[in-house]
Amino acid sequence: MSLDPITLSVIQAGLQQVCDEMDLAFSRAAFSPVIAEANDRSDGIYAASDGALIAQGAQGLPVFVGTMQDSTRQLIERINSGITAAPEPDDIYIVNDPYLGGTHLMDVRFARPYYRGDKLFCWLSNTGHWPDTGGAVPGGFSASATSVEQEGLRLPPVKLFKKGVLDQEIWQIICSNIRVADQRIGDVQAQSAALKTGAARLDQLLDRYGDDTVEQAIAELHARSATQMRAFLSEIPEGRHGASAWIDSDGVVNAPLEIRLAVTRTGDRLRFDFTGSSAPCTGPMNSVRATTLSSVYLAMRHIFPEVPISAGAFEPLDITGIEGTFLDAHYPRPVSGCAAEVSQRIAEAVFAALAPALPARVTAAPAGTSGNFALGGHDPETDADYVMYQLSGGGYGGNADHDGLANGCSTIGISKAPPVEIMEARFPVLYLHYALHEGSGGAGRHRGGFGLDYALQLRRGAARASFVMDHGRDGPLGALGGRDGAPNQVRVRRGDTVHIPDHLSKEQDIPLAPGDIVHVRTPGGGGYGDPLARPPEAVAEDVRLGRYSTDEARHLFGVALAADGTADDAKTRQLRQG
């Protein structure tokens, strides 16, 4: 008997609410500000047989959209082959191995088997970004790591909770290998409590509709998500759509890395072929398979936000040609840059390839870097060591409807930036300015959004500055005739000299003395459409508001301004025709 579409919709909403409630429970109880404030976590329900994604929380971090099903699948395979111990009720496995369906080591996954009677019905799993998992530098983002061991403690899937009880031996091993271990027990409790919440809510759903009905609905929803995605794919013209995105360098070897992508629609399937992308790199800008797949999925979800997150939606998407490239790195390649940087640039390649094919939906490239600046040192006033992170947004791409947003969060994130006042209260720094990166939005009919321009001064004690950013060489790509956004810039003023990192956007451990200044300007978004088609009054308004100079109005947009600041129509016409 097939299910009626209404019961299907109702169960779909019910499964979604189970996941949303897990997300909420996790964030509210977490200690790590990365989880509690930045929502760097995700919760979902996965199939018992192969880990296929059934539903995932709507407010989960986008980059985890596809990694957790891979992680669950690998766990199931290891259990089936006897490498990992078989599950029992109330067990929770912990795993952070990047090569087993992960991102970087800091993203720690928990998986809990969910039983109905004796039968394993599905898996509940979540990922949370821990502030530290050991390794060479606090926080785990080492720009100069050349192997994963330098990045932190790597855990294969092991049972952290056995029948509901925390395994003290495993826990002590973890605590002896990570920094600020005393607070992590709070995150572990939060992460496991979220799964418990999910189990309780799933019980209610199954009790109400019956196990068989829900099981049938899950299968049907999987098929229908695939149908829905196929229907959207038919909007893309058949044939090949190619683009490349470039990463400045891997942080160790100063040479650009290419993400070469050809998207081809054939019938109702879409193939993403990465053949020809760069080989695995020495530094930490490698991606692992799960992250690469997830990056494609999240880019597609940005393009088609209507399709609910489920394995069915990914089914018509084929991802090929990553073997042997830095998008499918294997042990022991370092990978700390995969979740924050490489993933965004994969999404950029997808946007750039599809913008001409789906001009109403796809935006020009957004800033595409997480703008990771870390400052570590000793504050003599509090006599304590500190590590400060400043992750920054950038401009979004212009699009068919609007100019790009200014200072938006990364493609793969959804978190808020910390206020300057909070940063200054915690760390011995003084921000000199925190402003729009003027002129950074890529010119276009709809221009890119503006990046951020900030400078901060070290007030006391010695410190070291590290940068893991990107788009220092070239700005985010413009689309449909729009220009690229401005690139990322890092300047470090030490005494009387200005230092620019060799790798432009990456360097580790630059020593700073009190009075030294770090100045960062993040990328603007790519422009959309011909800049000469931008209404002159919109350009005049941008100049009036100090976003572009009069010169830029003339050179980028072909708009001449009169003495009173309004557009000079006659001269503008001349400029635009000439």
Partner: protein, 683 residues
């Protein structure tokens, strides 16, 4: 004849509602007139006339207004400038690095104050409140004059770390008073003395840019009332559910932004208290959205961190009303996966649902209710455009029935079922995020469509009963009539519990209480009792989310506070964290002046009641429930005998609301005239 009548009046998007009460005679009069959105005060005066209120005999007028809400949401703001610390003029535009939705890299954001009206001035404090750069007074004067030249009416001073040391902001305020021609000067730290420059700046910017608008409005209204002979004080509802005198309301205009929704929740709290049902989830369903709030022990939850729309945080204490994107106008459609979707797209007020006859062609929740017999099809006759039930049926057949393989009526039922599941899910999330299990609450249904869906929602949520107040359509006006005087104070503490000076904490709370008492005593309004509540916001060190810990008195020992916090943490998360120590983030006090009691039984005059249930019944019509048509009796709500008790199915009709009772549920009334629906066999 003395002044004794009390009037509560609420201006909503469509109607202006008024309740007049005469405490001596017990008489209650109601009026409902169209709102006059160009100048809301005209509608208020029309309502006064309609109710035949005698202004010279009126002791008190309390007013709930959407003037500031609309100004903010529609960005119809006074021209306002901002003076910031040098280097930080873009704070209002940069925001907190967010986007409107998790997926989709598009969106539009307009800062409250455009860049050419954001000027900066050399000055700087550090996070400890020490001066890094002295205030450049000349630069400040020059910048202020520039803003005046650019036509600004109001001005904000927003300096970094002013919550820690406001000296520069205070000095800037003195200088501005000399040169600024209007009283509309807002200092950033004055409304919100907490770190986080974006939230504080937006709160201040909202305040300044609605000040002139609110001021003009309340002055017009006060003048209009005075002309009619009113000699009392006009009180305006604040978003925290308390009232403030019209003469001072504009000073802290940002506090009124949630005035309307707050009054509805205050009425719910009042009704629940009178009915002996103090724990409520309020459910106010309108045309485009639904407001939900939580009331525990007859006290509405109050939050300092409301975001009224994307990137628009207003951090002053306001009743915590959450908006869920579903209303009568939510559109139903079949998506590419062949699944039915309801909302988030809405037909709004124009064109509105098909049954409004304003040109709407897409099926909505309201249309589905009509097809199922839940709304009266006879009403279609009075619709301007002339719509027939067949037209509605045809739209359901074509757009939903055909792709789903259902009859139009089955499709309508599916739409309602889906809408209820979605709304129930959203309400559950609101409730859970406030740390409450919805099953421990009663659902308080009001607004145009609330009572129509409430019983089904309650079943979906596992809520055992629904309370429909006597006058669901004028709940906000009732809230004005019964609202308390209320003042809230919050101070940052930011100390680990083991280092906290407990005496200083008690002192802070005691001082807050004294300030509140003094303010209430200054008002002309008489209060029966003053209640004081103290709340600490606490967390384990290392956490960022805060838990509210209510105190019985300002004096509490360190050990008792630790134990109390651990217990609350356990209740919320079922987690004990004994080795991690706690910290106190903020200390707050609410001082509440409770006014003379009002007898809610007066809202439905006993003389109108019929002697028997049969007399209150005006007929019946078929209504669709769970795939079956039931011949459903239609009762006139106002005429129900006081002791009426009966089982569903039933429809209760009154002036502007329809209450639906599904089969299996049981209706009783209480002494206050509230309808209670006991949900039978709740899932």
């Amino acid at each position: 004849m003395g002044r004794r009548q009390v009037i509560g009046v609420d201006v909503g998007g469509t109607f202006t509602d008024l309740i007049l009460m005469d405490p001596a005679s017990g008489e209650v009069r109601l009026a409902k007139v169209p709102s006059t959105l160009d100048d809301q005060s005209r509608g208020v005066l029309n309502a006064v006339t309609e109710a035949q209120a005698s202004l010279p005999e009126t002791a008190l007028v309390v007013h709930g207004t959407t003037t500031t809400t609309n100004a903010v949401l529609e960005r119809k703001l006074a021209r306002t400038g901002i003076l910031t610390t040098a280097g930080f003029r873009d704070v209002l535009e940069l925001g907190r690095r967010t986007r409107p939705q998790a997926y989709g890299m598009k969106g539009d954001f307009r800062p409250l104050i455009p860049r050419d009206l954001r000027l900066d001035v050399p000055e700087r404090m550090d996070a400890q409140g020490r001066v890094v750069t002295p205030l450049d007074e000349e630069a400040l004067r020059t910048a202020a004059r520039t803003l005046l030249e650019r036509g600004c009416q109001a001005v904000v001073v927003h300096f970094l770390h002013a919550y820690r040391n406001p000296a520069h902001e205070l000095r800037a305020g003195e200088i501005l008073k000399e040169i600024w021609p209007t009283p509309y000067i807002t200092l950033g730290h004055a409304l919100l003395s907490e770190p986080r420059e974006y939230e504080r700046g937006v709160t201040a910017a909202v305040n300044a840019s609605v000040q002139p608008i609110l001021d003009r409005y309340v002055q017009n209204l006060a003048a209009g009332l005075a002309q009619g002979g009113y000699a009392g004080d006009l009180l305006v509802m604040n978003g925290n559910g308390g009232m403030v005198s019209a003469t001072r309301v504009a000073e802290e205009a940002a506090r009124t932004v949630m005035s309307g929704p707050a009054s509805g929740v205050m009425a719910a709290a009042f009704t629940g208290r009178a009915a002996g049902i103090p724990d409520l989830l309020t459910y106010d369903m309108g045309g485009t959205s639904t407001d939900v709030a939580l009331i525990r022990g007859a006290e509405p939850a109050v939050s300092n961190e409301i975001e009224v729309e994307y990137a628009m945080p207003i951090h002053v204490p306001m009743v915590d009303v959450r908006t869920v994107g579903a209303g009568g106008g939510s559109i139903a459609q079949v998506n590419a996966a062949g699944l039915l979707e309801v909302g988030p797209e809405s037909a709004g007020a124009t064109p509105g649902p098909i049954c409004y006859g304003r040109g709407g062609t897409r099926p909505t929740i309201s249309d589905a209710n009509l097809l199922m017999g839940r709304l009266d099809p006879a009403r279609l006759k009075s619709v301007e455009g002339g719509v027939t039930l067949d037209q509605v049926r045809a739209a359901f057949a074509d757009q939903l029935g055909a792709p789903l393989g259902l009859s139009p009526e089955e499709a309508a039922e599916a739409v309602i079922r889906m809408a209820n599941v979605k709304m129930a899910g959203a309400i559950r999330m609101v409730s859970v995020s406030l740390g409450a299990d919805p099953r421990d609450f009663a659902l308080f249904a009001f607004g145009g469509a609330g009572p129509l869906h409430a019983a089904a929602l309650a079943r979906e949520l596992g809520v055992p009963r629904v309370l429909v107040p006597a006058r669901p359509g004028i709940t906000n006006a009732l809230g004005c009539l019964v609202a308390d005087l209320r003042h809230d104070f919050t101070e940052a503490v930011g100390q680990p519990l083991d280092q906290l000076d407990m005496a200083a904490l008690a002192d802070t709370l005691t001082r807050q209480a004294a300030r509140g008492r003094a303010l209430i005593e200054r008002e002309e309004v008489s209060v029966e009792e003053i209640r004081i509540t103290h709340v600490l916001e606490m967390q384990f060190i290392g956490q960022t989310h805060l838990l509210r810990v209510p105190l019985d008195s300002p004096d509490i020992t360190r050990e008792a506070l630790q134990a109390k916090f651990e217990q609350i943490y356990w209740d919320r998360f079922q987690v004990r964290l004994e080795k991690i120590s706690a910290a106190v983030a903020t200390a707050s006090t609410a001082v509440i002046g409770r006014r003379a009691a009002f007898d809610p039984a007066r809202l439905l005059p006993p003389e109108n009641r019929a002697a028997t249930l049969a007399e209150a019944c005006r007929g019946s019509r078929p209504v669709l429930f769970d795939g079956q048509w039931h011949d459903t009796p239609l009762y006139q709500r106002d005429r129900l005998p006081a002791d009426a008790a009966f089982n569903g199915p039933a429809i209760l009709e009154q002036m502007d609301t329809t209450t639906l009772v599904p089969p299996g549920d049981r209706v009783t009334q209480d002494a206050c005239g509230n309808i209670l629906i006991e949900i039978g066999g709740a899932a």
